[in-house]
Symmetry: C2
Subunit: 240 residues, 2 copies
DNA sequence: GAGTGGTCTAGACCACCCC
DNA sequence: GGGTGGTCTAGACCACTCC
């Protein structure tokens, strides 16, 4: 069950084990889980290690603790942690749709003042600009303009853009994408948006602007997307 | 600096101390903070206690750790933790606007099937229904329909609704509001919405539906709000 | 090799809940 | 009083970074 000589940390093994039990329904919402000391004894590990595992699950919303009473499985909403940063591809897959993409253009341009501000670089600095139509189940979902500083993410090619920019940044360049901030607003499709999205001019759209940051806070991406309101809803969980 | 005999936990004191230094600017983004062992020695506390303080600050985004190198102050997020659950009042205040409210109606009604589903109660079960126009700087911001199970939140009055429902739930009833999930979509104002919001029919609006939950997962509120798109943008931070 | 964070131990005492 | 989570200690060894 728990391998003490594994290179995988013990607290992590315990975490996954518990997540499995919850996902499988063997631990149901409202159930008390065994006491920390019990797990420690059962697996011959220290109580602090058990706590490390549980604390993370509490932070992720799987469990909640009540002092003096115990640790309990929280109500699980099917719409899971949607405040997780996802690429379009990951987002669509989570929604059970098949993502697709049509590249409209891909080039290096000098940053406008707005783009430069969003990316924290000099005006006229070189940025990759990608314009794409994003598809879900082969139907237009969003029109997306993507800007990435060329001095930070070097060697981007059309091929990579067609595969996965995030994978390239994370796996090839070894940069750690850490967080993003989005501004979401409601708007009405312009003529251009309407044409690309195959909707009528004046239809409602959801405009999402995103700044993406690395672990050290450097902006790595600015995206401006127009989503079809008839196809896209934004879901999020918030903690008090 | 750190009081070991205080009823306030040591890790918490250290946390606040560090937050202060960061907020005051004495620790700037990118700075390395002293090593964990250094803090332990300096304050005569255990390294695990130091780690407990730092870990929480890492989770909150104040710091990030790089193995083998050190712990560093993260770039300040200007638009702060906006994935925090807020009441309308708190939201507007955070935006520097003065919140206001016009109560249109307040009554107990039997739950429709949709409301019952959202609140996890029986159809036709008693719920408080509040209809309000939400103002910001005295101008309509949103039209809000709010539903609260009458068997859970007892004794709600018009007076309380005009003050703060959340305060009543949290401070008077001692229920712990823990999290909410929202579904956000883009839409177009109906005649009714247009009249209340003082915009033209067909103007863009942002439709936000919210389910609010207590710590044990019980739904405590269902809200359906139509925000004026010309006045309201939704901002959020996401972690990868 | 020196210094850093990452993981882990085997205890301890406290505050709180429930009987 | 017995059980629970909350806090804390004083060590230990490992993996990683940098020189």
């Amino acid at each position: 069950m728990i391998k003490k000589d594994s290179p995988i940390p013990i607290y992590y093994q315990l975490q996954e084990l518990l997540k499995d039990l919850i996902d499988k329904g063997e631990l149901k919402p409202g159930d008390a889980i065994p006491a920390e000391r019990e797990y420690a004894e059962k697996f011959h590990i220290s109580r602090m290690t058990v706590r490390q595992a549980l604390t993370q699950l509490v932070n992720e919303g799987y469990l909640h603790r009540i002092q003096g009473k115990g640790t309990f499985v929280s109500e699980r909403k099917i719409e899971q942690p949607l405040h997780r940063l996802r690429s379009f591809t990951e987002d669509m897959e989570a929604r059970g749709l098949t993502p697709g993409s049509q590249l409209i253009s891909f080039e290096i341009i000098p940053a406008t003042s707005q783009i430069a501000a969003q990316l924290g670089i000099q005006e006229y600095g070189p940025v990759y600009e990608m314009k794409r139509i994003r598809l879900a189940d082969d139907v237009p979902m969003a029109l997306e303009f993507n800007y990435i500083p060329a001095n930070l993410v070097k060697g981007l090619t059309e091929q990579i853009v067609k595969e996965s920019v995030y994978s390239y940044i994370e796996d090839q360049l070894n940069l750690e994408i850490d967080q993003a901030s989005q501004v979401i607003e409601s708007s009405i499709a312009t003529q251009v948006e309407a044409e690309f999205l195959k909707i009528k001019k004046g239809s409602p759209i959801m405009l999402i602007q995103q700044q993406t940051f690395l672990k050290d806070g450097t902006p790595v991406e600015y995206v401006r997307s127009s989503y079809r309101a008839d196809r896209y809803k934004f879901m999020i969980n918030m903690k008090r």
